[in-house]
């Protein structure tokens, strides 16, 4: 967390000085930025910044669905299959997408790039099938989706990440 000093200060400035506990969720998002999940080390650092017990920080990771305590794919495709989306075919969409990626909902593709998850309503009920993509440092919405354009997008990610790796060598 040390390298995010500036951002930490900016977050803390939002809340009254005696209520810095309010910053715990923003700081958890910050902690996820490196690896996409919160390590125990980060819990401890956040607890020190905010004068909390680690347990008080950890409990939030368990409560809120956008915090994760273990590694998953670089891209988490979170498909809404709630009532309204299901009425517009999102359950089939999820099944076909998973089949194409050879995984079950909740699993990660073999290359570690994509995890597909089933989630509850994302407030885009008129544009199903839809999903959000959660990456280390943000969330984006993808609406009126088809399996084909989703697979195309994944292919682009794949090429991107291969390119990066090659570049790294």
């Amino acid at each position: 967390m040390a390298k995010y000093q500036k951002e930490i200060q900016k977050i803390l400035a939002k809340y009254p000085p005696d209520q810095k506990r309010s910053a715990v969720m923003p700081l958890l998002f910050l902690a996820q930025r490196k690896e996409g999940f919160v390590r125990k080390q980060a819990l401890s650092e956040i607890s020190q910044i905010l004068d909390l017990q680690e347990t008080e920080v950890a409990t939030l990771v368990g409560f809120y669905t956008l915090f994760h305590d273990h590694q998953a794919g670089t891209y988490r495709i979170q498909v809404c299959t709630d009532l309204c989306c299901a009425l517009r075919g999102s359950e089939d969409f999820l099944a076909v997408l998973c089949e194409a990626l050879e995984i079950k909902p909740g699993e990660t593709t073999q290359d570690g790039l994509v995890t597909v998850e089933e989630v509850k309503c994302l407030a885009a009920c008129d544009k199903a099938p839809m999903y959000q993509v959660q990456v280390k440092d943000g969330i984006s919405y993808h609406e009126n989706c088809s399996v084909d354009n989703t697979l195309g997008m994944i292919q682009e990610w794949r090429e991107d990440s291969n390119g990066k790796e090659e570049g790294a060598i």
């Binding site: 125990k40 819990l43 017990q53 680690e54 347990t55 008080e56 920080v57 950890a58 409990t59 368990g62």
Partner: protein
């Protein structure tokens, strides 16, 4: 005084204080409303919903504000039709509550059915069986059949260690959250929380070590089911097989009321302690005990206990002899050394032991000396807590000064109650050379250098700052002082300075005012009252004695003297201590759990306890030994039971004359209500039926106490590190070490230093070092802590390094 409110609960008129919750109002009228999540000492959250009742309220005319009336002139009462939680609704004038009609009973049944859908059916092997709130309420109100299929029950973790002392059964947890709230609100260690949400939520601890708290055992008393159990009691016994003995904890001066549960072990044929439980005393420990009091009980059953009298034979070896022979040797030995007898007694003896030892010593014109590292027992008798005091009543308008002690480590329940007083609005001033947990609750913190405690107390009110003002404006003042970093002799000055401050500000001889000493042992105050006095020059006094009786003390092991083998030495002991090993005679004594007696707590509350276990071997109580020895010497001693001796104490000891046995045994009804039949309300804490004890009067109530001079000589240290003795709850003393369950929690490092000092010396955490004070050298392990001032080494007492006061020290790494 707050306003009184009258309401009707189940056709019964009930009058209670404004702000009372319906549930407590009902309880005060003897009406039980079932609860799981509610607890009268915790914030109410209205989560479990079992306490749903029907609530009717009076109505007012919107314009005139007048009560609307029925035709018959009685106030109209409106019922909304929705059930409400009795644990969250404060009473209101004219309110009508129904706790026992079809609708309410159906709701309770429904909630029970919901809870039982995910609760496992492992009652036969559950430690809570027999004292389980869920079992009791299901028995009384349950449906009798399960509509949720057994095969669909949720399966979760069964034996999860939450920490070293407490286990969690996730399936049994009904998510009442009492444990989480207790840790946050009462213990101020929020190291428990729920992880996940909904039905999947379960209790976790992420502290290091896990469940890092001195209070963890209390969560098992609060747990309404068998989700939380203690490591020492898991699968050990059934509730109904056990016997209960009311007792007083012997680990610190607070005097927590406990109940010792014992059972005949069919395998060994011996009666053993199964568990130690809190017993309600709202003047002392309320419903709580610390983990040391709960778990450190195995010292009495240690294998190394002495069970027969030992006498030194002609070859110089200690060999067992009969009591008759032992008394003969003792009386002959004492007769031949009549001039120089010294009796050294420790604060773990009972008042009865001490009284008899005192009579014996007086009869032989000997000196009575108290083994204590802290002075001031005379002052607490003069200006101690006034009659009627209860820290629970201390709040706004009062000030509490805590000086030179780490209260949670030294007297945990006092920490808890002082912290609670501060939360209620009392002004808390904490004066200590380093940060302690009490600082978090403090309004003001006075930091001083080791050695300047007395000066700090003398000076702080002279300043015109807000701390001085806060202190001076307080209507009531309590001062607690300890021995952090001090020798006995410097504590004389500190005690007097604290007493002077109270006397000069007229905070003596009154309720909720006075001086409290954080004594090293449970009955140090009682020993002082029985005439045993600590000596500054203890080594010389011991060395100049011709004959010695040492009871409940180990001056050789503590490094006060090296060699007493030339004396005629009688030692009364549980174990063969270093001192006992040098004795001519060793008398095996009963442990505190094996004899009845009384202790005088640090607040000067005299409390009785009973024997929980039968005598071991041929052991006798210290009072019996002293009595028989006196008799053998032809002295006029009280003979008989502890009770008869106590009657004699009451007759003859100053300040004790106001006591009566009846008063000591009085157990008034207490709030909150504790009873077996109200298990769900307050948990498994035991009801107090054998007495809450009596607070002794202080002299300041009768006479004016004058100020005494103090000397403000500053302790001079040489250059380099200064080592100071401090007290830690989990030391390596005999009482703690023999409880295996506590081993993972015991301190392993004997020196604690600031990381900056460590860096300078090339040390890291857990470095092996040699510490030397002049010629005395000890091997030790280092721990680092930012709160230790630079240039200071903390040396926890009872950890193997002998240090009676601050001293220059040299630390060198061992390769």
């Amino acid at each position: 005084m707050s306003e009184k409110i009258t309401l009707t609960i189940d056709n019964q008129q009930v009058t209670v204080e404004q702000g009372t919750k319906i549930i407590d109002a009902a309880k005060s009228a003897g009406i039980d409303i079932s609860v799981f999540c509610y607890h009268p000492k915790l914030e109410s959250v209205g989560a479990c919903r079992i306490c749903l009742v029907e609530v009717g309220r009076t109505q007012q005319d919107r314009n005139t504000g007048e009560l609307l009336l029925e035709e018959d002139g009685t106030p109209r009462v409106y019922f909304s039709g929705t059930l409400e939680t009795a644990c969250t609704i404060p009473v209101a004038e004219g309110m009508v509550v129904r706790t026992d009609n079809e609708k309410v009973n159906k709701a309770r049944e429904d909630i029970l059915e919901f809870i039982l859908t995910s609760h496992p059916l492992d009652c036969p092997v559950c430690d809570k069986g027999g004292e389980c709130s869920l079992q009791e309420l299901t028995f009384s109100y349950g449906l009798g059949e399960s509509r949720f299929p057994l095969e669909e029950k949720i399966h979760l973790g069964k034996h999860i260690p939450l920490g070293d002392l407490i286990y969690l059964d996730q399936e049994r947890c009904i998510q009442c959250g009492r444990c989480v709230r207790f840790q946050k609100e009462i213990a101020a260690d929020p190291v428990l929380a729920f992880y996940n949400r909904g039905r999947k939520a379960n209790i976790v601890s992420y502290s290091n070590p896990p469940f890092d708290s001195y209070w963890s055992g209390n969560t098992t008393d609060l747990c309404p089911v068998g989700a939380l159990t203690t490591k020492d009691f898991r699968f050990e016994a059934r509730i109904w097989e056990m016997e209960s003995a009311p007792s007083i904890c012997s680990h610190c001066p607070v005097g927590c009321n406990i109940t010792i549960n014992t059972r005949w072990d069919p395998k060994t044929g011996q009666k053993t302690i199964q568990r130690v439980m809190p017993r309600q005393n709202e003047w002392v420990n309320e419903l709580w005990i610390c983990d040391k009091g709960r778990f450190a009980h195995q010292f009495t059953s240690g294998k190394k206990r002495l069970t027969k009298p030992l006498a030194r034979n002609s070859q110089g070896k200690l060999k067992s002899v009969s009591w008759q022979k032992a008394f003969k040797i003792a009386s002959e030995g004492l007769k031949s050394h009549t001039d120089g007898l010294v009796t050294l007694a420790g604060g773990r003896l009972t008042n009865e032991d001490l009284f008899q030892l005192s009579q014996l010593t007086d009869g032989l014109a000997g000196k009575k000396i108290l083994d204590s590292s802290l002075a001031g027992g005379d002052l607490t008798a003069r200006v101690g807590l006034g009659q009627g005091s209860n820290i629970k009543d201390v709040g706004p308008g009062s000030a509490i000064l805590v000086v030179a002690c780490d209260l949670e480590e030294e007297a945990p329940l006092w920490w808890l109650r002082v912290k609670a007083a501060a939360e209620r609005g009392a002004t808390l001033i904490v004066a200590n050379p380093r940060e302690t947990k009490l600082d978090r609750a403090a309004n003001h913190i006075l930091r001083y250098a080791y050695g300047e405690e007395t000066k700090t107390v003398v000076d702080f009110t002279k300043k015109g700052n807000k701390i001085a003002r806060a202190f001076k404006e307080a209507e009531n003042v309590i001062i607690l002082f300890g021995s952090e970093g001090m020798s006995y002799s410097s504590s004389i000055n500190l005690a007097q300075a604290c007493a002077n401050l109270l006397i000069s500000t007229k905070h003596v001889g009154k309720k909720n005012n006075g001086l409290l000493a954080v004594w090293p042992e449970a009955n140090t105050q009682g020993a002082r009252d029985m005439g045993f006095i600590p000596r500054e020059n203890l080594p010389e006094v011991l060395e100049s004695a011709e004959a010695l009786i040492i009871a409940g003390a180990d001056p050789v092991g503590d490094g006060i003297v090296e060699d007493l083998s030339e004396k005629f030495l009688i030692v009364q002991e549980l174990f063969l201590t270093d001192t006992a090993a040098q004795a001519d005679l060793v008398f095996p004594v009963l442990a505190v759990t094996e004899k009845p007696g009384s202790f005088t707590s640090g607040e000067r509350r005299v409390q009785l306890f009973e024997a929980a276990l039968p005598a071991q071997g041929e052991c006798l109580a210290d009072y019996e030994i002293a009595g028989k020895l006196g008799e053998a010497l032809g002295l006029n001693m009280v003979q008989g039971s502890a009770e008869q001796i106590l009657k004699e104490i009451i007759k003859s000891q100053p300040n004790y004359e106001s006591l009566t046995l009846a008063a000591l045994r009085e157990a008034p009804e207490q709030q909150p209500f504790v009873a077996k039949e109200a298990l769900s309300y307050t948990g498994t804490v035991f009801k107090n039926t054998s007495g809450v004890g009596v607070l002794l009067p202080v002299e300041a109530e009768k006479t004016e106490i004058s100020l005494e001079k103090i000397s403000l000589t500053k302790t001079k240290f040489g250059k380099g590190l200064i080592a100071v003795p401090v007290t830690r709850l989990y030391d390596q003393g005999t009482m703690v070490r023999s409880s295996e369950v506590l081993h993972p929690r015991l301190l392993t490092s004997q020196l604690i230093i600031n990381p900056t000092d460590a860096e300078k010396a090339g040390l890291t955490s857990e470095s092996q070092v040699k510490i030397s004070f002049g010629k005395r050298k000890f091997e030790a392990v280092v721990d680092l802590d930012n709160s230790v001032p630079e240039g200071v080494v903390l040396v926890p007492r009872s950890m193997g390094i002998l240090l009676v006061g601050p001293e220059n020290a040299v630390i060198k790494a061992v390769k």
